[in-house]
Structure formats: structure tokens, C-alpha cells
Amino acid sequence: MPARLRTRLWLACLLVAGPAMAAERLPFPADVLNPPWVEGRQLEQTLDADSLAVAHDLQFRDQQPQSGINFRHQVVEDAGRAYKAVHYDHGNAVVAADVDGDGLPDLYFATQLGGNALYRNLGNGRFEDITARAGVAVADRVSVAAAFADTDNDGDPDLFVTTVNQGNLLFRNDGDGKFTNISGPAGLDHRGHASGAIFLDYDRDGLLDLFVTHVGVYTTDKIGPGGYRIGLSDGFSGQLHPDRFETSRLYHNLGGNRFADVTRSAGIEDNSWSGDAHAADLNGDGWPDIYLLNMQGHDQYFENQAGKGFKRRSRELFPVTPWGSMGIRIADFDNDGDPDIFVTDMHTDMVEELPPAREKERMPHNYPQAFLATDGRHMLGNAFFRNAGNGTFRDISAENGAETFWPWGLSSGDLNADGFEDVFITGSMNYPFRYGVNSLLLNDAGKRFVDAEYLLGVEPRRDGKTATPWFELDCSGPDRTHELCKNRAGAVEVWGALGSRSSVILDLDGDGDLDIVTNEFGSVPQVLVSDLAQRRPRLNYLAVRLEGKKSNRDGLGARVQLETDRGRYVRFADGKSGYLGFSSMPLYFGLAADEKAVRLEITWPSGVRQSLDAPIDTRKTHRIVEAGG
């Protein structure tokens, strides 16, 4: 048969058979493409807007298509066609740091399959992919968390990445946009079910130490497509199986990018099913303590013993915690000068599915006691521990609007520049669940949080999307026994709900207001750019970038206090930027109507106290170098 005729026949076949071969679109659950409650929720927030006292004169717009960020998070099959309830659905980090020293924050996205991605900030909200030349793709492993910090005090951020039982990684920043994998020599290549990673200088020797949380064994030895270890079918009962426990690990920085595991000697051995942790000086003694989350049990609190180790004081100070803690942010939310604790609880929200209209309610009951495997003293949702200032904390989450549904983790930042830290909480469970929103909680003068995701353009998502193609099935072929192929034939394209996991709040376009970037689960990021600076041409803010000398170079552990004629604001340099994320970024102070700052006071982790007095320029980033270095 002549080639021309063959081509024509092929084209004719395609024309005839093409429509018949088109995959059936199967939304799962059925209303995931068009949830009936979205419109009502939007209307509710919009109608309430006029009565709000908290500033809300800003809008976010998802600029991902224009940003140059084309990264797409890819999930393992356990979260797709072979779905099972296992910890893979916890997703991955997005983190920020100025990796090339040009003064602009760059972004790093982690994924389960397909390779992580590093994007260089070109300015004006544009980014370019520099993953290949930076050498940080980690495409052969299933990543989880990421952390930027200057581990060798050479002035540039290094990168630590955790993986699912494939060995963690430390990349040294060589200062020219390239990174070198030094995991083995650094002593940080431990294999386990690692999750969140935070840097802190627990002994205040000027070198950043590392704390890595471990979930516990939730995988088998079987390898699935893409090289991931297939998850256990009963992963969420791990708290009942001591043989699956893994200890979170504290690594002491010995200098020269060498670390030693000091978990046992420092008295911080703990087998919680921990996905993340946060360091903060919670008792005000000048030493960073650690609040460790437990996603299947009680949270733990380890009090720093003047750098010599840690003492567990969990139940003493926090007798009631969530059972399913997932994300944490510690900040001075009420501007009284001390750190408060906001914990998001995902797993309690899995007890049963609350209908959308009841999402702000607590779960009516918990799991059976035998399954909890604790003393049963848990709040049934997010916790907000207000620091009473006398070394004690009181949960006020039932009063201040901190509850959200299906939350992963949170980021905080003064999004409306009124002087109070607002909160962005990632949410939604993706396939096979209904759509869940990301929450934006505006901080109303430290008294309560106001739901504003629909009011400020975070929801609905761009083009009103709530779902995305999740996987395909051949119901006439190898997938005919799949549950979703029942009574179906041919190609089926299953659509699942969209959902975010990690987030970072930063001024990505340098205009003075704070923007939000997410890492989605199985989709492209959201690049939510704020228009606050455009709406308020004389936006009052000030940012501070610390440079330690005697202290660690990032100044982690520093307390920075800014005074204006009308207020006093405190920010803590702790690096925690979102769920599974740890970033290196300036501290941001919104100043409301105050055009002038009268005093800036820094208490460095070395103990050095340093201050700047008026005139202090606002609307700029101040680089503060530790005195006496």
C-alpha cells in the first residue's frame, strides 16, 4: 500500500474512531467539579465584609501562568489509582531563600515523583527554572520536606531535603548557583520515614543544629512505579505498633558541615508519629525549646536546659493537645511580646466528614479510646495556645476562630500590614475526597481570626477550578477490576479534588506587600500575588534581614522588637515558613498607619543586644549585622 494512501486511511480511522476513543470524564466524588456549597460560602464572606473591623483592602490573584513557574507536583500511585489511606498523602514542601545572593527570594518545590525544582527570582514576579544547573532535583527519591539555612556560616543558604526511607540530603551552596551533595560526609544521610526539618542553634555556639522529625514506618519493601516504596494498607494504626516507631533526630553541628546525632545524649528521644516541629523560646529564658507535633497521639514539648540538652515537659504544660497535629506556627499573634502557638489538626478531622456548612465546628467526637492509645485528653480540632506570659499556655481555639477543616499546615505573615500576623492554612484531601478550601484567617487585633479566603481572592481558585485530572483507567483492559471500572468500559479519566499542602509567605515581587506561594498535591503551585502595595501606594512596612557574627549567620533564635509611636511589634527569627517548610527570609513588620519606626531592638542568640534609634527608614529592608562580631 502506498505510503500516501496509508496515511489517508490512518487519518480517516482517527476521524471516525477519535470521538469514540475519547476518555470518559469521571469526577470523584461526583460533585468535585462543581461543589454546590462554594457560591454560598463566597456570598457569606462577601456580605459580612462591611462589618469587619480588620483591614481587608487587598486582593490576591493567582499569577502562576505568568510567573514562569511550571513545576507540577506528582504523587505516587498510593495517592492515585491505587489509593490507600497512608502517609504519602501528606505531600511536600515549598521553601524560599535567596540562593544566588541577588537580593531576591528564590523558590524550591519538593515532589514525590518527577524531581524537585528550584526557581530563580528574576524580579517583578517572574522566575526561571535553574534546577538542572543547581543540581538539586533529587529525581531518584521521594522527597518530603525542605529547609534552607546557612549551615556553614559562609553567607549563603544551604539546602536540606528529607525523603521517604531513601536517605536525607544536605546540599552545600557553592555560592555560584550550584549546590553540592555532601549528605554522607555531613552525617545527615540517615534513611527513615523522615518528615519536617528545622534548624536551630540549641546550644548557642554559633552553628545551626538540625532537628528532623520522623513519622514511623508506613511503607513496605515493595517498589511501586517511579521507585517509591508502596505504603502499608494500615499505616494510620502505627501508634498501636511499637515495632513501627522511629525516633525523631537531633543533629549537633560540629562545624565544617559535619553533624553528630545527639538525640539520646540531649534527652530528646521521642517516638511520636511526627510530621513537623517548631523551635521557639517558649519560656523566655533565652534558649530555643522544641514543640514537636504528633499526628497520631499527644504533642510533645521539650524544654531546653541551657543548651546542655532537653527536658520533656509535655503534659505538664500542655495537658490537652490535638490528637492529629499536622502543622504549627509559633509567633506573637496578639502583640503582647511573647510567642503563642497555633497547631493545625488534620487527623481528628478524619474521624468523620463534616459537611461544608459545619467546617468551623469542632469534630463532635474522637476515635475510640483503644485506637487513640493515649490518655484521651485531646481537643477536637486546631489548637491555639495563648502564652499567658508566666510560663503557661491556655488553649483559646474555641473562642478565637482558629478552627478550620482538613488543615495541613500554616504560614503566617502580616498580609494586610496592620501589625498583626495573619494566617494562611493549606487544606483539602484531594482524591478521593470532596474539595476543601485553603483558609486565610485575618488577625483581628489579636482578638480573633476572621475567615477571609473568599473575601481576598484566595478562593475560589483561578478559573473557579476545584478538581484536576488525577489518573486514567483502561476499563476494557488491565484496569477492568478497578473499583471505578464497575459498569464502565473503555478509557476513563478520573478527576480528583485540588488541594494544597505547603505554603510560604514572602514578598516575591519586591513591591512591599506579602504574597503567598503554595505547593499543591498533584498539581501546579498557586502564586497568589497581593495587590496591597498597589492599593496603598504609601504602604507602611519594614523588613529586617539579620546577619549574625558571633551568632549563627542567619540569626536564628533572635528576637526583634520594633517600636513605633503607636505600637510595639515582636518577630522571632525561627525560619519556620510553612508545613514541611523552613526558609531563609527577612522578618516583615506591617506598620498599619505608622509611617515612622522609632526603635529597633535585636536580641541575638549570642546574648548580644543591639538597637537602632530613629530615624529608621520604613518601606525598605534593613540589613542588620550583629554588633561586636
Partner: protein
């Protein structure tokens, strides 16, 4: 005054103890329930009893004897399941390798059969992936009727082999 109070309390305390002793001495009927591939089954000495009609019903039907102290022993062969009978105050989990127990006292038989209504059996895989086949009804039967049902299930099991198979 104090003595009088004690006198008044004594009969109540005595009744409570008597009730407690009675409850403790009441024989317990232990029933195994196990989750397997998104379905419930009852492992017995003679074989697995399916909670699904042999005609392939997707709704489970759990039979329980009336007026009995029942101990449900819950297990799972694979996933983590929720097992609930809200009307009887049962809320438990079925977890592989870790038996969970729930005790209840069943009400009169026929009370529900008269209306043709049973009690709701709720169940799903933890984390909310709902499977219709994990839901169903609880039927409270008179002891003789319960025994007959159980024997019939046993005969079916003996005749047809395992009753747990499921094509999903």
C-alpha cells in the same frame, strides 16, 4: 444525721452491687467481626459467615441475638475500618493485628422487625474513602431465630466455601 444518710444510701448501693454482679455473671456472647477488602465477615468455628446475602447484596446485614450481653471482637485483614452502630452506642475501629472490643446489650427481638426496620450499621475505611458495602443493617433476632440463621449461614459456608469473596 450522718447515720440516716448512710441508711438511705445502703439499699441503693446494694442494688448497684447486685446489678453489677448480675451484669458480671451474665454470660457474654462473643462475636467476631472482621473487615476484609471493604466487606464485613464473621469468622466462626465452622468457617466464615458473610454478612451479605448470597445473591450479592452490597449492604451488610449483621444479625445479633436479642437480650444478650454481646462482645464484638473487631479485626481486619487489610485496612483500618470504622465500625459503628449508633443506635446501640457502638463506635469502634477494626485494625489489622490489634483486636478491638465493644460490648453492648441487645434490646428485645422483634421490636425492630415489627417495623421492618433494623439498626444502621455504619462503616468506612478510615480517612473517609466510603464504600457502600461497609454499610448496612443490624437485625436483632430471637435466640432461636438467630441460631437458625447462623446454622443456615454455616451450611451455606460449608457448601460454598469461603463466603468472603468480593469482586469490587
Amino acid at each position: 444525721m450522718r447515720r440516716g444518710k448512710i441508711r438511705r444510701r445502703l439499699p441503693v448501693t446494694g442494688m448497684a452491687i447486685a446489678l453489677l454482679l448480675s451484669a458480671c455473671s451474665e454470660p457474654v456472647t462473643e462475636i467476631q467481626i472482621s473487615g476484609h477488602d471493604y466487606r464485613w465477615r464473621m469468622p466462626t468455628r465452622t468457617g466464615d459467615v458473610s454478612l451479605y446475602r448470597q445473591t450479592g447484596s452490597e449492604q451488610a446485614e449483621l444479625w445479633l441475638p436479642a437480650n444478650r450481653r454481646i462482645r464484638l471482637v473487631l479485626n481486619s485483614d487489610d485496612f483500618i475500618y470504622r465500625f459503628e452502630i449508633p443506635a446501640l452506642g457502638v463506635r469502634e475501629m477494626a485494625v489489622p493485628g490489634v483486636p478491638m472490643m465493644a460490648e453492648l446489650h441487645t434490646p428485645d427481638a422483634g421490636r425492630y422487625e415489627l417495623t421492618g426496620d433494623g439498626m444502621e450499621l455504619k462503616g468506612d475505611q478510615m480517612c473517609g474513602f466510603r464504600h457502600q458495602s461497609l454499610k448496612g443493617r443490624v437485625r436483632i433476632a430471637a435466640p432461636a431465630e438467630y441460631r437458625a440463621w447462623l446454622e443456615a449461614q454455616g451450611r451455606l459456608t460449608a457448601g460454598t466455601g469461603s463466603a468472603t469473596g468480593r469482586g469490587s
